[in-house]
Symmetry: C2
Subunit: 398 residues, 2 copies
């Protein structure tokens, strides 16, 4: 199998993008990635396209969007399809782009993830996300993703001593980083007082699924992000230092949380991480920067433990102690994470990798850049941990 490099990345500002269609957003991010790869003017820039998207059928009443995108971008007759894996659709698209290049069948592959979620608002947005729950044993009973996350948080608190204050530290860190990221949805920094300590905190930051409060959850966002992949051996036209996908892992777990022997045990994260570390021939302490799937603050803490950055029960304290902040032991979500960049579901897995590529190329402003970062990691968490992808990226020194 061929080693696969990321030679271009593109991302558009996440948030409310009322004036752009889903197709517009996918096209903008793709063109940025192609330009970044130096392929913007090439006659046949890519052989294949993978689109990560979860909801175009439900939200936009549109299918076959990959065919439409290839035409819109004048990439005909490139192969194209959409990959769907709930909120890990982006990660699954990247995986299949990676396999396509690794297999030797395709040389240059565009992967783009996008979602236009704000066309559905209020309960409809929550309902859209809930289409990933189990159609017999979850959805008909009204469980939602915030509901599952709330129950998971309660169990995790009881078993591992995570506190609400630990969750607040995650929210404060990520939202502060989001204000420094020009692509983030959320532009407002939070204060500890405003969301936790003051008498008005309960008004500013009300419970949404006890013990989770409003600022424990990511916003509903529109957005898109893209990558261009090619075999490492074929690098010629690249202006920038390439980053390689050193390893990936993917694992599934029971579709419902209730069927897990220990619902606090995110087995799919552990297994996917193990595969990724084995393939990359690296260990958790070799990672310099990570983008974890903090759709809810508790997930950043739980994932940081399951991936092996911290022991079980230490993740919350680590955030509070600044170990996951810039300059700390392992900076996590220096993009702001899903919490502040936003979580347009099909885009997230791609956007995480885009931000790690920025880090590994040392291109960010010093407020976000992890010094000398060489190895980075992402976790894209599908369902409630029922389908998880982990990627490990490595900077290639010339």
């Amino acid at each position: 199998m061929r080693e696969v490099a990321i030679i271009g990345v593109g991302i558009i500002p996440f948030g409310r993008r009322d004036e752009d269609s889903l197709m517009d957003m996918l096209a903008y991010a793709s063109l940025k990635a192609l330009d970044d790869a130096g392929l913007g003017e090439a006659e046949r820039p890519v052989d294949a396209v993978y689109v990560g998207n979860m909801g175009s059928g439900i939200i936009q009443h549109q299918t076959a969007i990959a065919s439409s995108l290839v035409d819109r971008l004048s990439l005909l007759p490139a192969a194209a399809e959409t990959v769907e894996n709930g909120p890990a659709s982006g990660g699954s698209a990247v995986k299949n782009g990676l396999l396509a290049v690794a297999s030797g069948y395709y040389d240059t592959v565009l992967v783009v993830g996008g979602e236009k979620m704000r066309e559905v608002t209020g309960w409809r947005a929550t309902d859209f996300v809930a289409t990933m729950t189990h159609p017999q044993s979850e959805y008909p009973y009204g469980i939602t993703l915030p509901g599952l996350a709330g129950m998971f948080t309660r169990l995790y608190m009881e078993k591992y001593g995570v506190t609400r204050e630990h969750l607040v530290y995650v929210a404060l860190k990520n939202q502060a980083m989001g204000t420094l990221n020009p692509y983030a949805h959320v532009e407002m920094a939070l204060s500890r007082e405003g969301i936790f300590e003051s008498p008005h905190a309960i008004v500013n930051n009300p419970p949404i699924a006890d013990p989770l409060h409003l600022y424990d959850a990511c916003p509903v966002s529109d957005g898109a992000a893209a990558l261009v992949l090619c075999p490492l051996e074929m690098l010629k036209k690249v202006n920038k230092l390439p980053v390689v996908i050193a390893g990936f892992g993917q694992a599934t777990d029971t579709h419902t949380l209730q069927e897990r022997e220990d619902p606090t045990d995110l087995k799919a994260v552990t297994l996917a991480a193990r595969q990724a570390f084995e393939r990359a021939k690296l260990k958790p302490s070799d990672i310099h920067v990570a983008e974890l799937h903090d759709a809810f603050t508790i997930l950043e803490i739980a994932e940081s433990e399951h991936i092996g950055f911290f022991k079980k029960g230490e993740g919350g304290k680590a955030v509070a102690a600044g170990k996951t902040s810039l300059g700390g032991q392992i900076p996590i979500n220096m993009s702001g994470g899903l919490k502040a960049r936003g979580h347009p579901v099909g885009a997230t897995g791609v956007a995480q990798i885009v931000d790690i590529v920025f880090q590994l190329r040392h291109e960010l402003s010093k407020e976000r850049q992890v010094k000398n970062a060489k190895n980075g990691l992402t976790i894209n968490f599908g369902g409630f941990g029922n389908n998880v992808l982990v990627f490990i990226l490595r900077r290639v020194e010339s």
Copy 2:
């Protein structure tokens, strides 16, 4: 890249399956394929699962079905995702399963395609299929797939002399073959008199999109089909002669028919076929049996020309002369095709390959079996020819 073998196939009867959910159908076909591969009792039968499906979000209001299926089949922690490419979703799922094995990342891969379309009936079924049309320049104007096919047929008739009688020959052949296929939706044979010659033919077989009549179109069906893939070099537990995927091709064309320089020229079919033949090191005359994408009778004729079985303008006459019947020059759609087996969109690309595997293993009844068939071909046609996959399969003699 590793050569990839198909070591197991499974298909369930297509048609009205009101008592089965989409998940039930995917599971039944998958279990049949796993059993056929001799992996039904294996502890870790597959490493990865690809689900071909177009409409679960729209029709079933359900996403992340691949995660749900893996759990249902007790295949955890296998990797899994859904691949969507309109009516070529099945073919795209097979392609990605193939690349996954060819890449060396996964050894045993289950590919299953399925669709439960009869939950939407009447105009809603036509509308569901129309979600693959262009969201700005087609869908809002009310064009449907039968409408596009009707216009294409008129142009093809004018340019190449195809007649309604030629179309009737396709319908008669395929529906007759369908009555011999236990997995086909349509169980009734048609008569030339009943649908074409008698004074009542206009009642039995009314126009649906002139010049196409009712029996020129495939039915709306429920169904599922599955394959198990592994590297040819790893064959051990296989009871049956394996079939290898000798080549595949995929190409896209303009999303809308109207933008093509010559709308009768199905460029994506020509290009995808060229790639497949090059990879397989075969030519059209080496193929012994083919499953073409006859969602409308005209497509079987047009594809048989574009793929190189017949010259342009000869396809219609070839059908009339019996050249595409059993015992003819190149038997086409000995399963009954989409026309008679049915066209549950996500299932079709997989079902075509399943039937070719039956042919290449020489397992069919003598009324359907092409004698000594060694090489077979499928065309899975997405959109109106905007995303086409071609597979060439070869029987491996021991």
